[in-house]
């Protein structure tokens, strides 16, 4: 951190970002209120609850599940989750003996429309480098051990296709409503670094 006499309370990067925003605003390239609105949308409206809704519906509605298998883009958009970084979607389904894990080794592709903004670990070199070559070791970092003989498929997001993992429906949830089921769906289970919560 650098201390400057005129803004000693600001770090260097805060000062750089503030200077840039002022210049861009004065030149008419951006509207600072639009920046506020974008931030607000991701802080309050777009997040993993959207994805949890998709998963709970897939667990309880066989017709929706099969639509999701065939055309996840249309199925997910039908629920109203159709924003940036969710223009093209594919759902991948965990089941006995098969586990899916999503990564973007080249940058940070992530289904914003259903999961919100990605966590720091998803964008970090440790995850991006290792998920493809040592998926079992990555899952171990998250405290997840899969049953012996489970094959792992890692989906490296190299195009604009965004992946949503549909975790296995937890046992003991027969007869649960979609709303109740959605509460068991945590964000990491939709990336593949966790399972859905137990009831």
């Amino acid at each position: 951190m650098h201390d400057h006499a005129d803004h000693s309370h600001m770090t260097d990067i805060e000062a750089r970002v503030r200077a840039l925003e002022t210049v861009l605003t004065e030149k008419g390239y951006i509207d600072p209120e639009a920046v506020d609105a974008i931030i607000q949308t991701y802080e309050t409206e777009i997040g993993p609850r959207n994805g949890a809704h998709v998963v709970a519906k897939a667990w309880s509605d066989p017709a929706f599940r099969s639509w999701l298998e065939k055309d996840a883009t249309a199925a997910i958009h039908s629920l109203g989750f159709m924003s940036r970084q969710g223009e093209h979607m594919q759902a991948v389904f965990n089941g006995p003996g098969q586990h899916h894990l999503v990564v973007c080794t080249l940058c940070s592709c992530y289904p914003w429309s259903v999961l919100g903004l990605p966590p720091v670990w998803y964008k970090s070199p440790p995850f991006r480098s290792r998920a493809v070559i040592d998926p079992g070791g990555v899952l171990a970092d998250f405290g997840l051990t899969l049953p012996d003989g489970t094959a792992i498929t890692v989906h490296d997001s190299t195009a604009e296709m965004r992946y949503l993992v549909i975790p296995e429906r937890p046992k003991g949830t027969e007869g649960w409503s979609e709303g109740e089921l959605a509460k068991l769906v945590n964000r990491d289970s939709m990336i593949g670094t966790a399972l859905a919560d137990a009831p």
Partner: protein, 220 residues
């Protein structure tokens, strides 16, 4: 390019450390950078692939050690300087000095919900048929361009199987070079993990990548 961003299969970064109850932003400036970069997309001065190239062409040591939104900030600044939208003097002063260049549009706050909902689909109408179908065996090409590509180093010159035809999508390699979208077929290609990583891979494990037709050659 073989830059700091192409991380698949690199070693030595240590364990993944998830943060409990992680906030979307760790500082206000991160939120401002995210919002500004999204808003600047409306100006139409660069496309997605050009912005990715601006990030991945940072010097590898910087790319790997900078925080995520710092990379966004550096890349957006570089793109705007290149296009004469801003000057070094303005960044140093924190105020506009020169006239703005004409841009496609400014995203106003009232348009934010519709702009975010619309997103930026990259599928384009097709006049050709896909060369490959699910089940076809393919061989990825071996390329090492100085410019942008979405064929990662670890998946070059490898045997895979077409799993799905995703559609007809903008081709990043040409789009990033300003040579147009040149849309082409996009496939989901599945690779046995042992094909990519040898004996260390667990039998049955797979890696899939979304790869464009020019990256693939068919096998008899």
């Amino acid at each position: 390019m073989n830059g700091g961003a192409d991380l698949g299969g690199m070693m030595g970064f240590g364990p993944i450390v998830p943060e409990e109850n992680e906030p979307n932003f760790h500082a206000d400036w991160e939120a401002r950078v995210m919002g500004m970069v999204v808003a600047l997309g409306a100006a139409g001065q660069w496309n997605l692939d050009q912005s990715r190239f601006a990030r991945e062409s940072l010097p590898p040591a910087e790319y790997i050690s900078d925080s995520y939104y710092e990379i966004w900030l550096k890349a957006a600044t570089k793109l705007m300087l290149e296009r004469g939208m801003i000057t070094e003097g303005e960044l140093a002063n924190g105020h506009a000095i020169t006239d703005p260049v004409p841009v496609k549009r400014t995203l106003w706050s009232t348009d934010v919900p519709s702009a975010l909902a619309k997103g930026g689909p990259v599928d384009r109408p097709a006049e050709t048929q896909p060369a490959f179908a699910p089940g076809d065996r393919v061989h990825t090409i071996n390329i090492h361009p100085d410019s942008h590509t979405r064929l990662p180093r670890y998946a070059r010159d490898k045997l895979g199987v077409i799993e799905r035809v995703h559609g007809h999508h903008v081709f990043p390699d040409t789009n990033a070079r300003g040579e147009g979208e040149q849309p082409t077929w996009l496939y989901k290609v599945s690779f046995e993990a042992c094909t990519l990583w040898g004996e260390r891979a667990a039998p049955g494990d797979k890696v899939t990548l979304d790869l464009w037709e020019p990256y693939l050659k068919g096998l008899k």
